[in-house]
Amino acid sequence: MSLALALLQAALLVALAPLFSGTIAAIKARLQMRRGAPVWQRYADLARLFRKESILSTDASWLARATPYVVLGASLTVATWVPVLFASSATSFAGDLVMTVALLALVRVLHALAALEAGTTFGGMAASRHMALAALAEPALMLSVFTLAIAAGSTDLARISRAVAAAPHGWLSPSHLLALSAMWLVVISESGRVPVDNPATHLELTMIHEGMVLDYSGRHLALLEWAATVRQMVLFTLVVNLFLPWGIALEPSGAALGTALLAWIGKLLACAIVVALGESLTAKLRLFRVPEFLGMAFLLSLLALTSNSLLRG
């Protein structure tokens, strides 16, 4: 039963991930007075890519072929225990928040390595920037994890969302909000959005994620892109369901799950709007201003943690 639920949640994430990023793009287009592509565009792209043949560099080793599959596999693995609708999962014994962060790191490392396969300049550039920014994002991420874990008394995802949901106004505590904002900044940078990265560009000066997949094509590219959307979906789901677990189902009843589904979609929509607004209003930062951005995230999370332990006396 609960295993089925876990798989259902994973399926939901995987299925709706392209839609989510499509939605963000669409909202952005509207905000910029463009008609823009339909929200389904991402699916069309993926389908097209799957049909195209895959070309790899003559310099690439076996790693280049393995990476897309492993990346997608790891993203799916994470997806199985992220609390989407139901605040418990059959696979949560296998992974907690730290494991989630670590698996995302695994994905990142494989991405970076694959980017170096072709021996081109763009790949190296993107990989180097990716690893550098990730290194800076990591401490902030870990501290907001600390804050959550201490508040909930656990690093287990389901327990966290349950705990926050159980405390009626738990999410109002300053430490919680600070951690949330820190987490938000980290998620923005991790999922490669403006102002850290610009998903809609191939300008060598700015691109990070695009640069890493530049030498992929066909189904490999499809898999990577799909995995990227899944990862982005997972991150935002984590934000909304760990920090603001409103309406999440605490017991597996149909009604509860229904409300949970609606709440989840609503919250993600809100996220999409906020992201789109942000991307329309702010310009991308120069690469060497990004550390300040992440430094702020670190500061926020540190404040969150200290205020947490201070308020707990």
Binding site: E53, S57, L76, T91, V109, M131, A149, I150, D215
Partner: protein
């Protein structure tokens, strides 16, 4: 115990086998024994040594199972009790690690034809000394083994006798280690003198009798000595100098096993003593460890010599071990025994895990760069296509050392994070400040070393070869690659079976921590999950994660295959904006870490200058030179001032012997008069 007979025999066989294998080729024979030429004797000695090493590993495993072999004794004719080699719970995991690494590093040796047996002799002798360090149960013997270990490893570091770099490395290493050994020796012998015996229990009793202040000072002194071997900053300077210079198999042993000797010493003489760990020991160790981890990771990122990079990663992991140990001690003093147990489990598990991973890394990368003829990443590249099996081993090593799940170095960090979070939640006094910074610092260090290892593997093994030598590098002998894959398998097993491994470490942990915590309680579902009591605070399962990933990969693959959309792959040269790609267009190792180098420039004082060699048009000069260097701050800030001071004093003092007989006579006169006036 049914094994009672066997284990003693195994232990004796391990020690004497290794010792005999070390001596057999070393003894100079008259020429009339030509049939026993040194080379042929070496050929006999190597398998013997491998067997001995495996026996040692078996002894270690048995020790973890609680089977303690009868100790070996002999009487060196000195006053005091006889020398004694034995295995106890604490020594067992280290012996296991040492045995495995020694066996594989010996098996993976493939010296050139011109090389004499000296290398092999030193290699085995070094292993013997290490085994003696871990198994010694006699203070003086421990000191002998310790110094012997230093000496032999220094000889191995200076194996390439012509290289000035190796010579300097060996010298710095010798001196710093000797100073550490002096500190250790003083502590041990002070206790021995008080106890009137060299046995460890008596030493502990003697320490217990000392007044608190003095015992704390003594323990701290010894800990400082052991910290040198562990390579904690700023005493780590010798490590990145020495480890890379030795041949690859020896570097594996140095970084994999010898560094752990420092940890062993800290555990046995810093902690496992009455009244220890003294107040502040844990906090100090944790702070130093955190600092070391960051220093190591940062310098690993900016290093572009493959083996030095690995050495700095060793420094980072040494820092992590010290951090875990310090956190454990702090938690223990704050009274949270189970949490201390968790941190300690993290420490011991990571000690072995890192040993396996780093051994593999040095063997694989060392061999690769040896084949490619340069340690400089800027001259490497594209090795993965030229030595695929080796590259698998190297990749596994790199990913493990980046602390990624489900590999050998992840579970340890996970446990440490849990200990930090729980310690913070429990709000034990100093933890409140320590935990957040440790967590953040640890995350940063891990991410940085991940960047460093991506750089190592990505630049050396992927992309295009950056030099002719790298372009036609030949893979090492098949046998060696097989051995590397065996070691890789061991590392994988250690990672996937983390819960079982930690349960297996229960004995040493409780030997250090005392009762009140059972590491076996950390593993649940019959070793499937690693979970934190009480009430399964959180749990992970490397094995399940691996299975899930494999499952999904399989599914996706099957799906793609079934849909049958262009299953094949077409190969084409990389696209480089239309111009033909050459190796100099790829990112260099220097360029790869430029963002981090710029970001951390204020800390590491990285220097760089661009000079235009040939002016072309104002915007496009024809030739640039870019020079970048990261100065070794620890040397320039800590050590060279001391050295300069010593030398200044010496130059002044040398005036005593100015050559004038009259002055010499005056010394006599003055001494005589002074004695007459003062001493009579």
């Amino acid at each position: 115990m049914p094994l009672a007979g066997l284990d003693g025999a195994l232990f004796a066989a391990a020690i004497w086998g290794l010792a005999a294998a070390a001596l057999f080729p070393a003894i100079p024979l008259p020429s009339r024994f030509a049939f026993l030429s040194a080379a042929s004797r070496a050929a006999i000695a190597r398998p013997v040594a491998i067997a001995g090493a495996l026996a040692l590993a078996a002894v270690g495993a048995l020790g973890l199972a609680g089977v303690v072999p009868a100790p070996l004794r002999w009487w060196p004719g000195l006053p005091g009790d006889p020398f004694m080699l034995g295995v106890d719970a604490l020594a067992a995991p280290f012996l296991l690690l040492l045995g495995l690494l020694t066996a594989i590093s010996l098996a993976a040796r493939h010296p050139g034809p011109e090389e004499g047996p000296a290398g092999l002799v030193l290699h085995i002798g070094f292993a013997v000394a290490l085994a003696a360090v871990f198994a010694a149960q006699h203070a003086l013997l421990l000191l002998v083994a310790w110094e012997g270990m230093t000496l032999l490893s220094a000889a191995l570091v200076a194996r390439d006798t012509r290289s000035a770099r190796a010579r300097r490395a060996a010298y710095v290493y010798l001196v710093i280690s000797h100073i550490g050994a002096a500190a250790i020796g003083f502590g041990l012998m002070r206790l021995a003198a008080l106890a009137g015996s060299f046995g460890f229990p008596d030493l502990a009793a003697a320490l217990g009798r000392l007044p608190a202040g003095e015992s704390a000072a003594l323990v701290s002194l010894m800990s400082a000595g052991f910290a040198v071997k562990l390579g904690l900053a700023p005493l780590h300077v010798w490590l990145p100098l020495a480890h890379p210079e030795a041949p690859a198999p020896v570097s594996a042993l140095l970084s994999g096993a010898m560094v752990k000797a420092g940890l062993y010493g800290l555990l046995r003489f810093g902690w496992q003593m009455p009244g220890s760990p003294p107040a502040g020991w844990g906090v100090t160790l944790a702070v130093i460890g955190l600092f070391t981890a960051l220093v190591g990771a940062l310098y690993a990122v900016v290093e572009s010599d493959a083996k030095r990079l690995l050495a700095f990663s060793t420094v980072k992991n040494a820092g992590l071990l010290a951090l875990a140990l310090g956190i454990a001690a702090t938690l223990l003093r704050a009274g949270y025994v189970p949490l201390a147990g968790v941190a300690l489990a993290a420490c011991l598990y990571h000690a072995v895990g890192h040993g396996l991973a780093k051994g593999l890394a040095f063997l694989a990368v060392g061999e690769a760069v040896h084949a490619a003829g340069s340690r400089d990443l800027e001259k490497l590249g594209g090795l993965a296509r030229r030595m695929p099996r080796l590259s698998v081993a190297a990749l596994i090593a790199s990913l493990s050392l980046s602390g990624l799940p489900p590999l050998a170095c992840f579970a340890g960090e996970w446990l440490l994070f849990q200990a930090l979070i729980l310690g913070l939640a429990a709000g034990g006094g100093s933890m409140r400040l320590l935990a957040p910074f440790s967590g953040a610092g640890l995350a940063l260090a891990t991410a940085l070393s991940a960047a460093a290892l991506v750089k190592l593997y990505g630049i050396a093994f992927l992309g295009r070869p950056r030099s002719a030598a790298a372009a036609n590098a030949k893979p090492p002998p098949r046998a060696m690659e097989v051995w590397l894959l065996v070691l890789a398998g061991l590392g994988l097993a250690w990672g996937l079976a983390a819960p079982l491994a930690i349960a297996a470490l229960a004995l040493p942990i409780s030997a250090v921590l005392g009762p009140g915590f059972d590491a076996a309680s950390l593993s649940g579902f019959g070793g499937l999950t690693l979970s934190i009591p009480p009430e399964a605070f959180a749990s992970i399962s490397p094995l399940a994660v691996a299975t899930l990933i494999a499952l999904f990969v399989g599914l996706v693959f099957a799906w793609v295959a079934l849909r049958g959309l262009h299953p094949g792959v077409r190969r084409a040269p990389s696209w480089a904006c239309g111009v033909s790609l050459d190796a100099r267009m790829q990112y260099s190792a220097l360029g790869f870490t430029k963002p981090l180098r710029l970001i951390f420039r204020p800390l590491i004082r990285a220097e760089s200058e661009i000079s235009i060699l040939e002016e072309g048009s104002p915007y496009f000069a024809q030739k640039y030179r870019y020079r970048s260097a990261v100065p070794p701050l620890a040397e320039s800030l800590v050590f060279s001032p001391m050295v300069q001071a010593v030398f200044w004093i010496s130059t002044q003092a040398r005036r005593l012997q100015a050559g004038s007989l009259h002055v010499y006579l005056a010394y006599l006169l003055v001494t005589l008069v002074a004695l007459l006036m003062l001493a009579r």
